[in-house]
């Protein structure tokens, strides 16, 4: 027997080899699934962890006098986890509780299960069934919730508005769409995001930080409690409150004056650049774009031919008309083209242009102060021709570009950087623009209408108001901004550093005197703005337009210690004096005096009651 063993003893090596080979194969497989392939770990986490978002409360918004404008209110989303629904689910009772029809219930269920409409669908995770449940339905459902296995209530917050004003300035909040989610990984389906206005520009401040609660889910989809005793959960951080520079009462008053009219009122505190009010008409009640009626109301507003969702203060660009003459006077003075004493003649128009641009009846010749006060078209045509033809620039192109630089320095041609989104840049032409349009064959006569704010020049209302603030400051401006303070945060330096235009203060004094003449001087164009105890400076404008002219007033007061700059723009309001000036007068009184004196109450009533709505053919 031992002899035979000698033959087979070698066979133990075969077995040792086989055992080691198998062990090696298994180790390779272990290495493969544990180290090389990350899928298993990801799948494991997907199995076990249910990450439930903790939504922060959005920051509140106050006005400059710390009056609450926007706050949050509890809101309830109804969520459903399909896998946890029992076969004995009482659809009828559920529909009754949340006040929807059974058809609606079936429709929503089908919608949720449709992977095309709901790409992230899973039977394991809660899906939004109803958003922003009404308070009453919440009460009923909450009481009976135990009957409806699979359904739960997710606490959210919704916007609550103290007053129905400033909708376009504040903006609205809505569910983040695909674009928002692609742009910023912070957002997920069902999250809310500020879409327009301050809500959008201060979204990162207002939204706070979402938290997360990590729950453990077993193989049957049941929640087995917190992961790691909640140690890895993240609390949500509530959004920061912001204080607007807006005066709520002033804003409300402006909106009242602008009712049934199209246009905008902007007031800026020149010393800080703070926007005191930003009225854009027509507007809407911000509460309309909250909650379940959002889509219905949004569709109504979006199809309204007067475009109530557009903030005209920023979004519209118009020829600035005569208000632009102030910028011309400043440029010519600074460039030494004219002196304050320079006088030009006018015979119902510019003599060199054969009476074009035409002008209205006034004494001739006029000095600069008078020309601003009486809004002489000829004066500024003379001035622009003198500048463009001046040999010191070498060519008309060089002169034109110099002119353009002055305009840009005064805040035109580019967005100012206002902290409310939607600002348009407007148009300041330069020499290459004209070279292109006129194929290099142009001169002062070709472009002369820009001297009086017509032609190629367009500004946005906020740029015109900023011009008034710059003149009030005699040469500098702060970028206009609507947010005065952010909780625990220092305001962007953009809003706390002055921008100098490079034009001397003494030249501004001359223009300010001209604007004072317009209000109080002989033949001035905006006598209506003359308030007995306030030294108002102003300038009217009439922007030509395909329909009836737009009526513009820009001004500031008091003259020597300006507290407010104002811009009123009434679309199709006719001459500046007709609508814009009286509205400016009322706004200045409201802000500076806090009330409207009895003598002006008739005017106030007339303005409030007048209706100027462009005839719009509504598209079917």
């Amino acid at each position: 027997m031992s002899g035979k063993n000698l033959n087979t003893e070698r066979r133990k090596n075969v077995w040792i080899f086989v055992v080691c080979a198998i062990a090696l194969i298994y180790l390779i497989q272990l290495f493969n699934i544990q180290i090389l392939n990350p899928d298993y770990g990801i799948k494991g986490d997907g199995n076990a962890f249910l990450k439930r978002t903790r939504y922060p409360a959005r920051g509140a918004i106050y006005d400059r006098n710390n009056k609450l404008m926007v706050s949050t209110q509890p809101s309830y989303d109804v969520m459903v986890t399909m896998r946890e629904m029992r076969p004995d689910f009482d659809t009828v009772a559920f529909c009754k509780a949340v006040n929807i029809s059974v058809e609606r219930f079936k429709y929503r269920m089908a919608e949720i299960k449709n992977p095309k409409k709901n790409p992230g669908y899973s039977t394991y995770t809660p899906q939004t069934f109803i958003t922003q449940l009404g308070n009453q339905e919440y009460g009923v459902l909450n009481e009976k919730l135990y009957q409806f296995s699979g359904f739960e209530i997710q606490n959210r917050t919704a916007r609550k508005y103290t007053n129905p004003y400033a909708a376009l300035l504040l903006g609205y909040v809505a569910e983040a769409d695909k674009k928002d989610i692609e742009k910023d990984a912070y957002y997920q389906r069902g999250d809310y995001i500020g879409k327009t206005g301050v809500e959008r520009s201060y979204e990162n401040v207002l939204r706070g930080e979402k938290g997360v609660e990590i729950l453990l889910r077993d193989s049957h989809g049941r929640i087995q409690g917190a992961y790691n005793n909640g140690q890895d959960d993240v609390e949500s951080v509530p959004g920061k409150n912001i204080t607007l520079s807006i005066d709520m009462d002033l804003q409300a008053y402006g909106e009242a004056l602008m009712q049934n009219k199209l246009g905008t009122i902007i007031m800026i505190e020149p010393k800080t650049g703070e926007i005191l009010c930003m009225v854009s008409s027509p507007t809407y009640d911000p509460a309309d774009l909250v909650g379940r009626q959002f889509s219905e109301n949004f569709a109504r507003l979006a199809t309204n031919p007067y475009k109530p969702l557009i903030n005209r203060a920023l979004n519209g660009t118009y020829p600035p008309g005569s208000t632009f003459k102030t910028t011309q006077g400043l440029t010519f003075l600074q460039e030494g083209i004219i002196s304050p004493e320079t006088a030009y003649s006018c015979y119902h128009g510019w003599p060199l242009g054969n009476g074009r641009p035409a002008c209205h009846g006034h004494p001739s010749p006029l000095s600069l102060v008078q020309a601003v006060g009486m809004s002489c078209n000829a004066y500024f045509s003379w001035g622009l021709k003198a500048m463009l033809d001046n040999k010191k620039y070498g060519s008309v192109q060089a002169a034109m570009d110099k002119w353009r630089d002055y305009m840009v320095a005064q805040g035109f041609g580019y967005p100012l950087g206002v902290d409310v989104p939607g600002e348009k840049r407007g148009m300041i032409p330069n020499s290459s623009y004209y070279d292109k349009v006129y194929k290099g064959r142009w001169n002062a006569f070709t472009v002369i209408s820009i001297a009086i704010g017509q032609g190629e020049v367009t500004l946005s209302p906020i740029q015109i108001c900023n011009l008034a603030a710059t003149i009030a400051n005699r040469g500098y401006f702060y970028t206009p901004h609507a947010v005065k303070a952010i909780q625990d945060t220092v305001l962007d330096t953009l809003y706390t550093h002055p921008h100098y235009t490079g034009i001397d203060a003494k030249n501004y004094e001359t223009i300010a005197a001209g604007m004072r003449w317009a209000v109080a001087g002989a033949g001035g164009t905006c006598h209506v703005a003359n308030i007995s105890d306030i030294t108002v400076c102003g300038k009217t404008g009439t922007a030509q337009n395909s329909g009836k002219d737009h009526s513009i007033f820009m001004g500031f007061a008091p003259m020597d210690d300006p507290k407010a700059a104002v811009l009123v723009f009434v679309e199709n309001g006719g001459f500046g004096a007709t609508y814009a000036v009286p509205i400016g007068r009322l706004m200045l009184q409201k802000y500076l005096k806090g009330e409207i004196p009895p003598s002006d109450q008739a005017l106030e009533t007339r303005i409030k009651n007048s209706v100027i709505l462009r005839n719009v053919i509504q598209k079917k």
Binding site: I16, C20, Y26, Q34, N47
Partner: protein, 485 residues
Amino acid sequence: MSYRKNSLLKRPDWLTIAIYLILVITGWFSIYSAASTYDATSGGSFFDLQGRAGMQMLWIWISLAVGFSLLMIECNWYEVFATWIYMLIMGVLLLTIFIAPNIKGSHSWLVLGPIRFQPAELAKFATALMVAKCMSAYQFDLLKMRNFTTVISMIFLPMLLILMQNETGSALVFLSFFFVLYREGLPGAILLCGISAILFFVLNVRFANVFWGQTTVGECLVLALIILFSWGFLYNHPKHREHLKYMVYALLGMLLVSAIVDWWLPVFDWCWTLNIYIALMSVYLLVLFVYYRSYNYLWIALFALGAIAFSYSVDYVYDEVLQAHQKTRIDVALGMIEDPNGAGYNVIQSKIAIGSGGLTGKGFMRGTQTKLKYVPEQDTDFIFCTIGEEKGFVGATVVLLLFVGLILRLIYLAERQSSAFHRIYGYIVAGILFFHILVNIGMVIGIMPVIGIPLPFFSYGGSSLLSFTILLFIFLCFDASREYK
């Protein structure tokens, strides 16, 4: 023969005992972790008898007591009583089929009051003793047909009885006895036949529905392998190698003819060629057998013909004999069906659990997949998942290497026995452990089909732990009292 008496003074192999203890204790911690819920505060106390961990602790103490008792008692009597033990256990197995209650379709549990026990577990050590005794008998020769049949019957009897209890996994364990048969001189050809059988089965089933033109890929591959194996046998039989050359030429010629026929006849099946070739080859081998009077040619011919018969009966077995769940398991294991929620669920989840452990694991009691019951049978057959998830690649490797170390140590110990009975018994123990580890860990990491057998010393369950302990410690007792030369 002078065995040392007084067993406390015997010198047991402490290395094996150390590995055993480490495995049992690690196993207990894994069960404790797998059986408790994620929130540790709601889990039972470590020694709560109500919980599975507590029960397992009790079994560990019982096993240790039994194990060390076995070390201390005289071990001559095993050889004497092996036949009686074997017959007793076979009787119990037979009885179990009729009196055991139906637990998940299996009739393998004996219920005695609060204790449930699987006699199939004891059959391992009883059969081990029996086979060892039989094979170590004087003048035993495995190559003698009578002896060979006796041993094979001893192995197949418990296998059959356990199959009748519907415990396929435990029955398959008895295949591990071939481990020792090979060591003791079973011709490699027989083992090769066995391996070919498995290989042919897998190929046939796996590629039954894959075609090259009119040719079934599975069948074609099997026929090709039969030819190659036959040639291999011929090559190993160095006389008259020129005949092998003729056979190769013959096949090449036939393939050439087939290619021409295939060109004209688009519905040609290449299996025809191979079948005809094997038939002709067998006839040729029979002629050689008659001419040279060498039985080797007969065996090779029989192998070729038998293999063809086997491969054509596979379809029948697969379709008619196997039960639906067994077919599904085979299909999933062979990657023929992908079914994450059905039969493949267990394996997918166990791979996720192990894979999510990474290099160093999630930490004791911190495995989410096992805690949240994603892995089924996680404290019994799938216990290795807990190690993989909570201790990571490092832990899984250590456990695997401990098992390998134990098996290699047992082979070493077996080889140093002077008594054939002891050596054969030792090999059987190593073989049984190897088979369990091969199948269990292979299943958990997705290499083997799902066959429900426990991981030795790890899986929850008293019968399994106790039977492995008895199996191992009897051998340690043999080793400790071995005769020193």
